[in-house]
Point group: C2
Chain length 776, copies 2
């Protein structure tokens, strides 16, 4: 019988007490010694054929009878006010079914009430002005050109550092500071710490704006049925979209259904409903027909969020033996026009290394640029670049091996909350990664002519422990097949496969006898697929549900085999009496006997353990070759070792790590949302101008599997691997570049001009061009 | 925690012991004195706007991208063998995408292995020969004409009485008897009973073949997705269709999904998947595109089942005071080509009246005619016509008031299983109906000239108590709305509304805050919507699920209101401390506080009480006017009183009763599937030749609501009202006709020629034309 408990819930670093309804007791974790048949095996994706064969239905593929095509007119200016808008020519274009703008759309608040769905004040180039529904996408596009808008162009604030200055243009009357002030944190006494330091290093680190550029652009299809609204959405959170759309439209939650069966990537940019979602719903309501609004790659480049540019001034003090005594971070992150949260740039500084005195002061500011969004390990990726770069510089200054410096500053407990970690295997990551990379080669790397080689590394801390709420159900069918139902999403990560493996393992069924239904708000609640939390949140609920179903199955089988349920075991779809192999029965025989009496189990995500912090850790090692004449950086190899608990599927795990590293390499070397400094217009509007990593630029990537089961974290011992791999990559590459050429680039991406400039500066100060040979 | 129990399950008169998994304890029933806000109120249908406004999606309305249209070629002969089939001309017709026949289709057994999906032996006019999928329905129809079939026409057996004779044509090598012999039942010693009788009456009663003719014809849309098959089906049992289709196609159950959101009537003819369903799936698989196969009204007239014609020879013996001492029934029912069950013609004779000596012997036979199907109270409707007609004749013979005779033979317990009824209020039905009809007028009805009036009545017994398995879930959303999920069907009866009322009542929410999701095999298992079992099976599961959710809600509310959950009550969406009205909180405030922590309840249908029989009862009274010159019968008024337990929604209840009576009137006076006695061809192929009741023929119908809560039956005290109203109508009308003109018609429908013939016969025997005045 479910019951009410008061429990602590941790989300995004905040801990809240909540009353929650839980549905039973958690089951014991699969320990490190558990004998598992499917979990831990590199089985191919259960939906691989669908995905590869083109039969998987993504939001982009949804076609409904009578469906119209929507398109959105966007403001070309960084800051403007609409004096007048005339949609009459667009409305009279044949094939146009509806035109929505501030003139006729309902007043719907957006961006936490700071703006509207259609605002007359426009605050970034890309801000939504009007929308059209037409018989075809071509007609809709043509209609946009016929909408006449009289803009009053206003002065724009583009630079986040400018935003902090007195007299700066104010994006909102309440000022330019998101959440009204900096994110402040202090532990110990940072000035006293620096006073004790033998060595102090400092630097200013800059990271660029980086666009998520999921392969499936943002989009929604909306259809009103007799009893409400159905939305197919390319989203990381169907339940969140449901809630947001219901609120915007004033429709009760029970009348909104959101579906996302297949999804082509989000990386944090699809954590919420977009304006396009609500626009699709409004256009569908206005026309009485389904409406598809799918953004173009151009729109994706300007209006769907980005990893915000940051500036970080970081100072680290250490004793002569390398022991850290003070870390001081001041940072500013560009929230763009409408971001509502401060970027956690300070996360790594607070927690990654042992240090008694830490202070962080991070501002996130409004500017008249595209709105920042969460992007795979937001803040931590930028923060780690600064922290791990400067730590490398400290090692150099102390003439200590950089890895050795990290080992000396390793910390076994959570210094922020002052409690234990459920598990931490970072030292094993260091050891295994260094061995695989041949870290000892660092002292004598071959540098041939103008091409210098270097080795660098960096480490990572992140969440990924997940937590409640998440629910799942498992039903056994009469033919011995099982259906798992959970309203989670598979955003491309392979969640469907990994969660099916968990269910099949718990049920003792072959994987092909288990179907996983997800991506529908008619299913049990599951959280946002973000924060590396899906496996660690939904997975334990699936296991619990499957275990309950298994118990019932064994009860029935027990009556057939004349044995106690606890004496039975299930392997590969057959139930045996333990030790008496000839007394057995097929699962399908038991379920078939029950006919239509359902065996169903339900599971929920039990609360996390009290008083312990769940974190993931890891280290990456990069080997680079730098052309000192051209400044070109080539990454030759990356070795990644992450401590993410039990690995459910090593093949998918490797994909996830490789993907993170490739995205990290893009951040390190290539990607950059370039904005015209005069107008604020985005100049990198597609893949011709926005440089994503190409196959030829992708290094050899060795993914080591640590499989460091964290049995204290949840009943699987598993944590998330989505974000960890991107966090240390840029820092490891930057450190390798510095090692290769003896000059440190402190701004991302590490473009040839920047490398050459750093090299020139280092040469002029008598350093630089030291290959591995000369470095400690 | 769910647990395994051994319990007795009753279905279609059979009692089986089964091990079932139950999920908790049942909750106490709402007694007759329960104070209910919504249950028992005539609220309008929750989906009325959708149904009336045309936005409800029936299977016929499903349109999928790229969907093809299927059509089926049917055998024109009653009995034939395919010598050769040539589909090449059809295949080469432009727009034709696939042609299936016995030549290329997989061998799929059908009709319990007695035939195949495409058999070369064809056993009724309408038997499936081939199928086509084409770009349009027109092309598909044209293609059928191009299929050349060389039939060897064979001698056919058309008459069910012939089927029993030695030397009859054998429809199957195993003979013509369905289930291999008659359905035999005996209680006491019927010959000894007749020996004690003072009076014996006997008669031969004939009922005709009657087609269901649901407004939505049979049809399916099938689409193969990457992970399996989805079928939209106009069905009374989505889970049954899923199982049948999965077995036919060799696809695991977890890969087949069946959807039926709205359904335009079935009356028993849609209890199973049709060949069209599997044909749609095969054509879709062959073409790689969705395929729609929707039958025409013509096909509906020949190939989707019917209430089978019957012949019943009935003999009743009674003492002079009217006490029944013996009932002997011999019957034959026409099972058509492929029926697999015997028709329970003997049901009423066994159980309706007290009688110590009863014998029934009912044959159901194969013939080369359309296959019989369950049709609203199968067997009982025909059996009641015979039994209640002959009882009326007995009353006449004894010179006893027919109602008084029934009262004298009232029985309080189940004579077949020799146990108590959970409740029986038939005497109240008699009393209330007689009062409303003015039964005392029977003695002195005005008969003017050639139009004679008469009053007749008949009674009814049927199941309707439902039982497990049935499951439901209820989820409370953050905004205080609720979603109820159960894989049942609303076949037009209003189940969606009544079940939503139950959930809203249990939750204390207004009805518009509750949405009921049904008609999808992804939802919890629910049984066939037939046997009047939906409310009594799914309803208690819904109530249990809602009650569980309510408990959790009150637990959380208790912490907010600082009160014990048991001291709280919910009214109209607000939770109050009992006796302290100012201490209250809105449901939405509680659910909102929980944010995404789901409050979900699950419920199941608990086993029926041991050792008691659940039945519905009722009586109908008809007033008719008979034109003795034309033989035309006009029904002026019907009064109906049924004992079906608690009435959830009086308005829907009245609709159900009216619908049953109208269908019963069609059976009594109009409907008749006419078959060419030479060829077996059906001559009544549509509504121009098949006479359904027209508005002008529908009498005043008074539906009295008894609301005889049956708290022993289940936690609602409710039973089913789907079938009861059709059972006594024809008998009541026939008895009224007999009363009007003093001549009894013993064959349905009571057509003018039959009335005139009976009248002529009665006149020639010195009886007849006695109006109400002359009758007892």
């Amino acid at each position: 019988m479910p019951r009410l408990v008061r429990t602590k819930i941790e989300f995004e670093g905040r801990i809240e007490e909540r009353d929650i309804v839980i549905e039973g007791d958690d089951i014991p974790a699969w320990g490190a010694d558990a004998s598992l048949e499917l979990v831990g095996r590199p089985v191919p994706r259960v939906d691989g054929r669908e995905r590869a064969g083109g039969t998987a239905t993504y939001t982009h593929d949804v076609v409904l009878p009578g469906m119209l095509h929507g398109a959105i007119l966007r403001c070309p200016h960084a800051h403007a006010r609409i004096r007048a808008i005339d949609t009459s020519r667009a409305e009279s274009l044949p094939g146009v079914r509806a035109v929505l703008s501030g003139a006729n759309a309902p007043t719907i608040k957006w961006y936490q009430g700071r703006s509207f769905l259609f605002d007359s004040d426009l605050r970034f180039p890309g801000d939504e002005v009007a929308a059209v529904a037409a018989d075809s996408a071509a007609v809709a596009g043509e209609a946009l050109n016929l909408i006449e808008v009289d803009y009053e162009v206003l002065p724009a604030l583009l630079d986040p550092e400018e935003a902090l200055k007195p007299g700066a243009i104010q994006v909102f009357p309440t000022g330019n500071l998101i959440e009204g002030g900096p994110d402040l944190y202090a532990r110990g006494n940072v000035e006293a710490g620096f006073a004790q330091a033998d060595v102090v290093v400092e630097g200013t680190f800059r990271t660029q704006g980086v666009v998520h550029h999921s392969l499936e652009t943002h989009g929604s299809v909306a259809a009103w049925g007799g009893d409400g609204l159905t939305i197919w959405d390319s989203t990381q959170h169907i339940f969140g979209v449901r809630r947001q759309v219901a609120q915007c439209l004033g429709v009760p939650l029970d009348r909104v259904r959101v579906i996302s069966h297949f999804m082509g990537g989000g990386f944090g940019s699809k954590n919420r409903a977009g304006k396009y979602t609500v626009i699709a719903a409004l256009l569908a309501r206005a026309t009485g027909r389904p409406v598809r609004v799918v953004l173009s790659r151009h729109e994706e480049s300007v209006a769907t969020g980005l990893r915000p540019a940051s500036v970080q001034r970081l100072r680290i003090g250490a004793r002569r033996d390398g022991t850290l005594v003070a870390i001081d971070l001041w940072g500013v992150s560009n929230g763009g026009a409408y971001r509502d949260m401060r970027t956690p740039l300070g996360g790594p500084a607070k927690e990654l290394f042992r240090c008694p005195n830490v202070r962080t002061e991070v501002y996130t500011v409004y500017t008249h640029t595209g709105t920042a969004a969460a992007f795979r390990a937001p803040g931590f990726t930028e923060g780690t670049f600064a922290l791990e770069s400067l730590l490398d510089a400290l090692a150099e200054k102390l003439n200590v091996d950089p890895l050795e410096l990290r080992v000396r500053n390793h910390v076994g407990h959570d210094q922020v909350l002052n409690r234990q970690y459920t598990a931490k295997h970072l030292l094993e990551c260091y050891r295994a990664g260094a061995a695989a990379m041949g870290w000892e080669r660092r002292k004598s790397l071959p540098g041939t002519g103008t091409r210098r080689r270097g080795l660098g590394m960096a480490s990572q801390i992140w969440g990924g422990g997940g937590g409640p709420p998440a629910y799942a159900r498992v039903r056994l069918n009469a033919d011995g097949t099982a259906e798992v139902v959970a309203g989670t999403q598979d955003i491309g990560t392979g969640a469907r496969t990994a969660l099916a493996q968990i269910a099949a393992e718990a049920l003792g069924l072959p994987l092909d006898r288990v179907t996983f239904h997800l991506g529908d708000t008619e299913y049990p609640y599951a959280p946002l697929s973000a924060g590396s939390q899906t496996i660690a949140s939904v997975g334990p609920a699936v296991r619990m549900a499957a275990t309950e179903a298994r118990h019932h199955l064994l009860e029935v089988a027990g009556t057939m085999l004349e044995a106690l349920p606890e004496d039975l075991t299930i392997t590969n779809g057959r139930i045996h009496v333990r030790g008496v192999p000839e007394r057995s029965v097929a699962v399908a025989e038991v379920t078939g006997k029950l006919n239509n009496f359902t065996i169903e189990g339900r599971g929920f995500r039990a609360p996390n353990p009290d008083g312990a912090t769940i974190r993931t850790f890891g280290a990456q090692f990069a080997e680079v070759e730098v052309d000192v004449e051209t400044g070109e950086v080539r990454v030759l190899r990356v070795v990644a070792v992450h401590d993410v608990g039990r690995i459910i599927n090593p093949q998918q795990y490797a994909s996830q790590i490789q993907g993170g590293i490739i995205q990290g390499l893009g951040l390190a070397l290539l990607e950059d949302q370039v904005v015209d400094p005069e107008t604020g217009a985005v100049l990198t509007l597609g893949f011709d101008t926005y440089a994503l990593p190409k196959m030829e630029q992708i290094p050899a990537i060795d993914v080591l599997t640590l499989d460091a089961v964290d049995a204290a974290a949840n009943n699987l011992g598993a944590k998330g691997a989505g974000e960890p791999p991107i966090i240390p990559t840029a820092a490891a590459i930057a450190n390798a570049v510095s090692h290769a050429v003896g000059a440190r680039v402190t701004a991302l991406p590490l473009t040839p001009p920047r490398v050459l400039a750093a090299l020139g500066e280092a040469r002029s100060s008598g350093r630089g061009l030291g290959s591995g040979a000369g470095a400690p």
